[in-house]
């Protein structure tokens, strides 16, 4: 095959190019020609096509995501904001923390194990790239119905992949979600979060500054993995019959990544890099163009120097390859020797492939011939921006008229039946079958993990400083009202870290939606972003980064709008956290927050085939007072335990609390059905020692949070009014579901 060079592009301007096959629209192709003043070479076309894909360019979402910057509160806690690989937050004592969520949805549908594994690998490299040591991962997941055949194919593979990769890297898995809904059949969601910690002085950025500095590619060799993979793939809707294409699957090598992490951290510790970028979606195309545009723009790369696993790869393919476990660093010539030496110690392949120039173009040669000559910003940042049409879909007003009145339990037998049903339903059942496949202990700093409200890790063994993270999405509410749904998910995630006594500091998100070319989906998306931006502004929390995943739909049926919101908080002394459940009998149980009768979007309504109604309205002022109360109570050690209420309402929260340490409780409830099954936001159960009750009541009064006495802890059963459910019976119902479904 002959090499398409810049000279050839000039000499042969009318060559027909397969831009459409690469996913570019005619006007996008035209604007590439305009930028370059000639037709692109095939290598340039490859670069533009992957970098201008929806996945890499955010072309449909950009105009909306701007709000996160525009509406943001100014905060000194944000050391690095949106735009870098991941945002960085000051957590005090000289420490900074970086965290981010990414999706790997479509690859995980095609090859569940490798898709999920490389999803974890990718987000971990994003965190490492900031200069941080990765310290934990989380995995919010969504699947089709639990008993669907394809779920049985997809779920075990995804769980094994998340575990297989994360366990081998030595990253504790401290939380996640497993939710089932019909709309995810054929569109499972695999979101992966990673959090890392560093000292302020260690922050690294993706910029290639300083003419004469060297461009070093290190890590795995480059193969044909996922050529046109994530990027093109993530931009295509699956036909109802199955995937439109079966491109080469990326296979992860967690061992190489583990070594890459240790090697990189040693390199960072000796301050050997000027800039650094991981290779993820769009591979070298992305890394070189982003690094170059982060600096003055000038960079020369000799593509033939790239070490190959498959020697038959063409230059276009080398540029597009998404081989995993690779990093690209900018290194001063005086430091290169030491850099290569550390790579050698860890047996990591490292190669100088180019240098930073004082020009303004990214120039790539192959065997001495110029094949790419572009202003790098036009590749990395100046991609197309679409203001896609949006329209409120008809269903929204339709389903708002639905009357949501599922049958509610009233007598003892019905209460017991309802409790056992809630305990066992796949969305609320015990997830140990999943989480027991994940190492939660490695690194020795895990304070909380599943099934706690949030994950918590210690970051300093001397001072006991720690961070907590929770991720939440309530797609049922987002479906009814995406604006409120986003705020409610934010509030829930914040509450989930506050119950433990951690103060919310920053937000990340992964926005999973159907096709942006559908105006209804686009409306859901726009409303979600508006809701999240407004919510963050009101709560004073910055959005530090995130990810958008579009085209999660089969035919014309999109997934429920699923904005997964992650909130990170700080706790000064992890030893003093408030645990999720009690270890003593004789404590008083209270419910904080008011309960209303609306069952719209609740699990109980869903269990009765009802999906409509009107979502609750988020009262963020009230949520903030509640968070305040939780933090104050934690400081004053008022609570023996605190546990958030969300999907499944009081019923599931009580079940989880009594089963945690096998200590029962007796509660008496008026309007028992609503009390147990309503999912009104802004509520928390707390367990209080009798001697601390009056101090606690005072605090609740000061914060204007309604409270209700529920009962007391103790015994070997959950007693609700006159219904008694033994802990043994309850445990069986709660823990058998996943074993029965997945073996």
């Amino acid at each position: 095959m002959s090499l398409d060079t810049v000279a050839a592009a000039i000499a042969n301007p009318d060559l027909k190019q397969p831009y459409a096959e690469l996913g570019l629209k005619p006007d996008e192709y035209a604007s590439i020609k305009e930028i370059l003043g000639r037709r692109p070479t095939s290598s340039e076309l490859a670069m533009y096509s992957v970098m201008w894909s929806e996945h890499c360019s955010y072309k449909s979402s950009k105009v909306h995501l701007k709000q996160f910057g525009e509406k943001a509160v100014k905060t000194d806690a944000l050391l690095v904001g949106i735009g870098e690989n991941a945002g960085v937050v000051d957590v005090g004592q000289g420490y900074a923390v970086t965290f981010k969520i990414e999706s790997h949805n479509h690859p995980s549908f095609i090859e569940p194990y490798q898709g999920a594994a490389t999803g974890v690998g990718g987000i971990v490299r994003d965190i490492l790239t900031m200069g941080a040591r990765p310290i934990a991962v989380m995995d919010p997941l969504r699947f089709g119905p639990a008993d669907a055949a394809d779920t049985r194919r997809v779920l075990p593979g995804i769980i094994a992949g998340v575990g297989g990769y994360g366990n081998c890297l030595g990253l504790p898995n401290i939380g996640g979600e497993v939710v089932f809904d019909e709309t995810y059949l054929g569109n499972p969601l695999v979101n992966a979060l990673c959090v890392g910690v560093m000292k302020h002085s260690d922050i690294k950025l993706a910029k290639a500054a300083g003419a004469g500095n060297l461009v070093v590619l290190y890590g795995a060799k480059t193969g044909g993995d996922g050529i046109g993979g994530v990027s093109v793939l993530a931009s295509e809707t699956f036909e109802s019959k199955g995937p439109a294409k079966r491109p080469a699957v990326q296979v992860g090598d967690p061992f190489v990544e583990k070594v890459l992490i240790e090697c990189s951290l040693e390199i960072f510790a000796e301050d050997l890099v000027v800039g650094i970028q991981d290779l993820g979606g769009a591979g070298l195309s992305c890394a070189t163009s982003e690094l170059a545009s982060g600096g003055s723009g000038g960079m020369k790369v000799q593509l033939d120097k790239v070490p190959l696993r498959d020697p038959s790869l063409s230059p276009e393919e080398i540029l597009m390859s998404e081989s995993q476990e690779r990093m690209c660093a900018i290194v001063e010539p005086s430091k290169i020797e030491r850099f290569l030496e550390i790579c050698k110690k860890w047996d990591v392949t490292s190669t100088v492939i180019g240098e930073v120039t004082d020009g303004s173009h990214l120039e790539i040669t192959f065997n001495g011939e110029l094949i790419v000559d572009v202003p790098p910003r036009t590749v990395a940042h100046d991609g197309p921006v679409y203001n896609r049409p949006l329209a409120k879909p008809d269903y929204v007003d339709e389903v708002a008229k639905d009357v949501i009145n599922p049958p509610l339990p009233t007598n003892a037998a019905e209460i017991k039946e309802a409790i056992l049903k809630v305990a066992a339903t796949p969305n609320l059942a015990d997830k140990s079958w999943v989480t027991d496949q994940y190492d939660r202990y490695v690194q020795g700093n895990t304070i909380q993990s599943q099934p706690d409200d949030s994950g918590m890790v210690r970051i300093d063994e001397i001072t006991h400083l720690g961070v907590a993270i929770a991720t939440d999405a309530n797609a049922n509410w987002s479906y009814l009202n995406p604006y409120e749904g986003a705020k409610l998910a934010l509030a829930e995630a914040a509450r989930n870290i506050a119950t433990a006594g951690a103060k919310p500091l920053a937000v990340t998100n992964c926005l999973n939606f159907g096709s942006p070319e559908d105006p209804g989906v686009m409306w859901q998306f726009a409303e979600t972003v508006r809701g999240l931006a407004d919510g963050c502004l009101e709560m004073g929390l910055p959005v530090t980064g995130g990810n958008v995943s579009f085209y999660n739909q089969t035919g014309s049926v999109a997934i429920l709008p699923t904005p997964v919101i992650g909130v990170l908080g700080v706790i000064e002394d992890v030893r003093a956290r408030t645990p999720m459940s009690f270890t003593d009998a004789g404590l008083e149980l209270y419910l904080l927050g008011a309960t209303d009768e609306n069952l719209s979007g609740s699990e109980w309504a869903y269990l009765h085939g009802m999906r409509g109604g009107i979502a609750p309205t988020a009262d963020l002022q009230c949520e903030m007072r509640l968070i305040d109360l939780l933090l104050t109570a934690n400081k004053e050690s008022l609570f023996a335990a605190a546990h958030d209420l969300s999907q499944g309402g009081l019923a599931i929260s009580l079940i989880e609390m009594v089963l945690r340490h096998n200590i029962g409780a007796s509660v008496s409830l008026e309007n028992v059905g609503i009390s147990l099954l309503s999912e009104t936001p802004g509520r928390v159960i707390v367990a209080v020692e009798p001697t601390k009750v009056s101090a606690f009541q005072n605090l609740a009064r000061v914060k204007s949070i309604p409270l209700q006495n529920l009962g007391t802890t103790g015994g070997d059963a959950l007693v609700i009014n006159d219904a008694t459910i033994s802990l043994t019976e309850l445990r069986t119902a709660h823990t058998e579901t996943f074993k029965k479904l997945f073996g």
């Binding site: 090859e111 193969g223 993995d225 699957v249 990326q250 296979v251 061992f255 047996d347």
Partner: protein, 81 residues
């Protein structure tokens, strides 16, 4: 009784971390013979009597559905005496 062997190997273009690790370990132990190593799976399936053509077709079907992952792997089926 006969044994049907199904060999399952990663497709040549797919990364094989295990094979790579073995290939890297061999020279460290002083073995210089290998230019490449790929690691796959071998299934030994015992069947009653002599395998029939129909049975082999069934095994091929099972190899495709269960024993291998056609997205990333190839397989071969043969009878071992």
């Amino acid at each position: 009784m006969a044994t049907i062997v199904v060999d399952v190997m990663l497709k040549p273009e797919i990364l094989d971390p295990q094979g790579k690790a073995v290939a890297a370990a061999l020279p460290r132990l002083g073995f210089a013979f290998a230019t490449d190593v790929r690691q796959g799976k071998r299934f030994e399936i015992t069947v009653e009597g002599d395998p029939t053509e129909a049975q082999l077709a069934e095994v091929r079907d099972a190899a495709e559905k269960l024993l291998s992952n056609p997205v990333i792997e190839n397989f071969t089926v043969r009878v071992e005496k």
